[in-house]
Symmetry: C2
C-alpha cells in the first residue's frame, strides 16, 4: 500500500479511528509533508487581487481618450470641478449597483477610501446634521458578520468603533442574531455587508436576508447605517449567476432609504488601484457626504472616469469583459474546490462553500487548527492569509477559518498549493485527534 493510498483511499474518519490507525495516518502524512517540504515551493494564496492576465484585459484603457478629454455633456475632464464625478461614470456606477444615477457618486481609485470617509463623516460630522454624529454617543458599535473582510474591521478599529460579530450562514448573516443584537444593544450604529460572493465565504445573500437588512433601519434608529460593500456585484463565475436582491428598492419599500450606503469599484474589473470607485446613497446621505468631502478635495480624477466610460463603450461591454475575467479565474476556483472535495467530502475535517464568484474560498478546519494549518503550509512554501484575519481584531475564537485566494497563481500553481494545503489540514487534524 502506498502512502497516498493510506490517506487518500480510506475515509479519514478520525472520530471512530483506533489509536493505531491514527498513528499510521500520522506517519504517512508526516512523510508526505516532508516530501512536499523538500520541494522548496514558493506559492502564494494570500492576496485577493487580479492576476496579470486579468489586468491585461484592460490595457486598452490608456489611450482611450485619443486626445478628446471632453464628455458628451461638454465637461472638460482636465480641469478642476465636478465633485460628484462625471455623469457618464455615475451611470456606470448606477448600472453596477442597480440604483438611480441621481443617487450615485463616482470617485477616485478606492472604494475603501469611500467607506473610510463615510464612516469618518458619520462619526465626526453626522450624516443627518451635526447632532447625528456618532461621536456624541457613549459607545459606537458595528455588527460584523464573520468570517469577513479585514479591511472593514480595520476601518472600525482606526476610528474607535467597537465591533460585535454575528455568524455568517449560507444565506448571509444570521438575521435572527442581527435583529436580536440591534434590539438589545442601542450602541449598534452600523453593520458591514459584502452581499454578493461575500468575502471570504462566497455566499450570496438570499432575497429574504436582503429584505430583512433593508428593514433594520426601522428597529435600529435614525443613525444606523449598513455599509453595503458590493465589491463583487458583477464578478460572476457562472453563466447563470444568482441575482442579488435590490437593497435600494427594498429600502424604499421599507421607508429606510437612509439606512443603507452602497459601495463598489472597478478595482477587480479594470486595473486594481487605478479604477473608479462608486457609492450609492439616499439623497440625504449623499448631500451630507458631498458637503463634507468638499473640504477634502476639489474632486475625483475625471479623466480616468472618462477613460473607463469610453473603454466600456468602445472596446468591450462590462458584461462581456467580466466573462473574460471568469474564463481566466474559473479553472483556478475549480481546482481549489476539486481538491477540497476529494480530500474532505467524506469526512469532517473541513467545511467550505462552493463560490460562484468573487475572489475567495473560505475553509473551516476543525476547531483550534487554523493557525496550525497556516503555519504548516507556510513552512512548506505555501503562503496563506494569517488565520484570524477574517475576524475583528484578528481574533477567530474557534481558530477555524482560513481564506483561500486563488486568482493570482496559475492553475498549475493552485493545484500544487492545494496539494500542500489538504496535506497540512489532514496532518494537523490527525495530530490533534492523537493528542486528545
Amino acid at each position: 500500500m502506498t502512502l497516498s493510498n493510506l490517506t487518500e483511499d480510506k475515509t479519514l474518519n478520525l472520530n471512530n479511528a483506533s489509536k493505531e490507525q491514527l498513528q499510521q495516518w500520522q506517519t504517512a502524512l508526516t512523510e508526505q509533508y516532508a516530501q512536499i517540504k523538500a520541494k522548496n515551493l514558493n506559492l502564494d494564496l494570500t492576496r485577493g487581487k487580479p492576476s496579470a492576465e486579468q489586468l491585461s484585459l484592460s490595457d486598452g484603457l490608456d489611450g482611450m481618450l485619443n486626445g478628446n478629454y471632453t464628455t458628451e455633456s461638454g465637461v472638460d475632464t482636465r480641469n478642476y470641478g465636478g465633485l460628484e464625478g462625471i455623469k457618464e461614470a455615475r451611470e456606470m456606477g448606477a448600472d453596477i449597483l442597480k440604483a438611480p444615477v441621481s443617487n450615485v457618486y463616482a470617485g477616485g481609485n478606492s472604494s475603501l477610501t469611500l467607506m473610510y470617509q463615510m464612516a469618518f463623516i458619520a462619526y465626526h460630522f453626522g450624516l443627518n446634521g451635526e447632532q447625528s454624529a456618532w461621536k456624541h454617543e457613549e459607545k459606537v458599535t458595528f455588527l460584523c458578520p464573520v468570517p469577513g473582510y479585514d479591511r472593514h474591521f480595520s476601518v472600525c478599529e482606526h476610528l474607535g468603533i467597537n465591533m460585535v460579530t454575528v455568524p455568517m450562514t449560507s444565506n448571509g448573516p444570521d438575521m435572527d442574531a442581527v435583529e436580536a443584537a440591534i434590539k438589545s444593544d442601542s450602541s449598534i450604529k452600523g453593520m458591514w455587508c459584502v452581499p454578493k460572493y461575500s468575502n471570504p465565504t462566497g455566499v450570496v445573500y438570499c432575497d429574504h436576508t436582503v429584505e430583512r437588512i433593508a428593514k433594520l433601519g426601522n428597529i435600529a434608529g435614525d443613525n444606523f447605517r449598513v455599509f453595503w460593500d458590493n465589491a463583487y456585484a458583477i464578478h460572476d463565475l457562472s453563466d447563470n449567476p444568482v441575482v442579488l436582491g435590490n437593497i435600494f428598492e427594498h429600502c424604499e419599500t421599507a421607508g429606510t432609504q437612509d439606512s443603507v450606503i452602497q459601495f463598489a469599484s472597478t478595482s477587480k474589473v479594470t486595473h486594481a488601484g487605478a479604477g473608479v470607485a462608486f457609492l450609492a446613497a439616499s439623497d440625504s446621505n449623499l448631500a451630507h457626504y458631498k458637503k463634507a468631502i468638499s473640504f477634502m478635495t476639489i474632486g475625483p480624477d475625471k479623466t480616468n472616469q472618462l477613460r473607463h466610460v469610453n473603454f466600456f463603450n468602445a472596446v468591450d461591454s462590462l458584461h462581456n469583459h467580466m466573462k473574460k475575467h471568469a474564463a481566466i479565474i474559473k479553472p483556478r476556483f475549480a481546482t481549489v474546490l476539486s481538491h477540497l472535495e476529494k480530500a474532505f467530502s467524506d469526512n469532517d475535517l473541513g467545511e467550505w462553500e462552493s463560490a460562484d464568484g468573487g475572489y475567495f474560498i473560505s475553509f473551516d478546519t476543525r476547531a483550534g487548527l487554523a493557525k496550525k494549518v497556516v503555519a504548516l503550509a507556510g513552512d512548506a512554501g505555501v503562503k496563506l492569509t494569517p488565520a484570524g484575519a477574517t475576524f475583528p481584531y484578528g481574533n477567530d475564537p474557534q481558530d477555524t477559518n482560513i481564506r483561500i485566494a486563488p486568482t493570482v497563481p496559475t492553475q498549475a500553481q493552485v493545484d500544487e498549493a492545494m496539494d500542500v494545503f489538504v496535506t497540512c489540514v489532514k496532518l494537523a487534524s490527525v495530530e490533534q485527534a492523537l493528542a486528545s
Copy 2:
C-alpha cells in the same frame, strides 16, 4: 475734455480734492460705469485654474504608457500595492520640493486631500504617537498669514481648528508677529504657508523668512507643524525666477525636521484634478502618515503616476513644460499689472504686488471698499472672487482685499475685465471720499 480724460489724465488724488472735483469725477465715472454695464459683459476673474490652452499642453498624457504599465524598477502599476507611490513619481516630487526622495510620498490627484488628511491625522491620531494628537489639547490654533488661501482655512474650520491671522509682507508672513504669537499662545499647533508666489499676494518668502520659519519648531514645541503648501514651486513667469530657500535643509540645520510638512502637486502643471500630489516630510512624520492612511486606502493610482513620469521623460522636461505655461499666461498677468499701474501708480486708491509667478494678483482697495468693488464689477458682468474669501471665516476686517485670477480668460478678456475693474475701484473710492 472727454470722460476718459477726466479720470485718466488727472491724478485721482482724493485726499486733496475739492468737493466739486470729487463730484466731477463721480459724474464721469458713473457715466463710464453705465457705458460698461450696457455692454452686458460676461467675464470671470475668479478661478485659479489653468486655461484650456494650458491644459492642452499635457494632452499627450493619455496614451503615454503605450501598453507598458510596468515601472523601470519592475512594479506592475495596474495592481494593488505601493502605498507611498512609485519610486519614479516620488523622484519627481523630490525634484519639485527639493527634498530627499526617501522623504517624499506621491499620492493621488489632490494635494488638498493630502493636507486635509495630514491635519486630520495630526488632530485625531497624532504625528508622534497617540499622545501627540491635537485632540488632547484644550484648544488648537493655526496661524494664518492673510490674505491667504480659502481652502486652507476651510480645512481648519471643518476640523474645528481655531485660526489667528498674521499679516503678509512683501517678504512673506510678518515673522515678528508670528514669533510673538507662538510665544504668547501655547494653543498654536500649526501655520499655513504658500511660500512661493503666495496665494494670493504673489510674494516669494525671502530666505531669512524661510530660515525663521524653520526655527519655529524650537519655540513652538514638539506638536507644532507648518503646512508648507508649495503649490507654485515651479510656476515661474520670469526667466530668472527668485529661488526659494530650502526649508528642508533649514530645518535640518535647526534640528526641527518634524516641524514642517511640504506639499505640492502637478494640478497646474499637467491636468488640474487629474495629476499627482506630493508631500515631503521627516522620517517620523512620513511613517505616522503612512501608518494612518494604510487604514484608508490600498494606495494611489500608480498608472497615472507612471503616465506623468513617462510624459516628462519622453515629451517634455518639466522645466521646458513650465516655460510653455508661462508663455501662455504671462501676457494675462502683464495686462492686469499694466491696468493697475496706469490707474493707480500715481494715487493711493490701491496697492498690489507684481507677481512673478503663481496664479493670482492680489489688490488692496482703500479700507472698506472691497465688497463694494466686487459688487459693482459683478453688476457690470465681471465676476470676482467674493471679498473676504482670502481671510479665515470669509472675514476681511478691513474689507480691502480682492483676488484677481487672470489665467482662464483670454488676454483680450482680461483687458476688458480690468477696464471694468479699475473703473469700479475708482468709482467706489470717489463715492467713499464724497460720503466722508
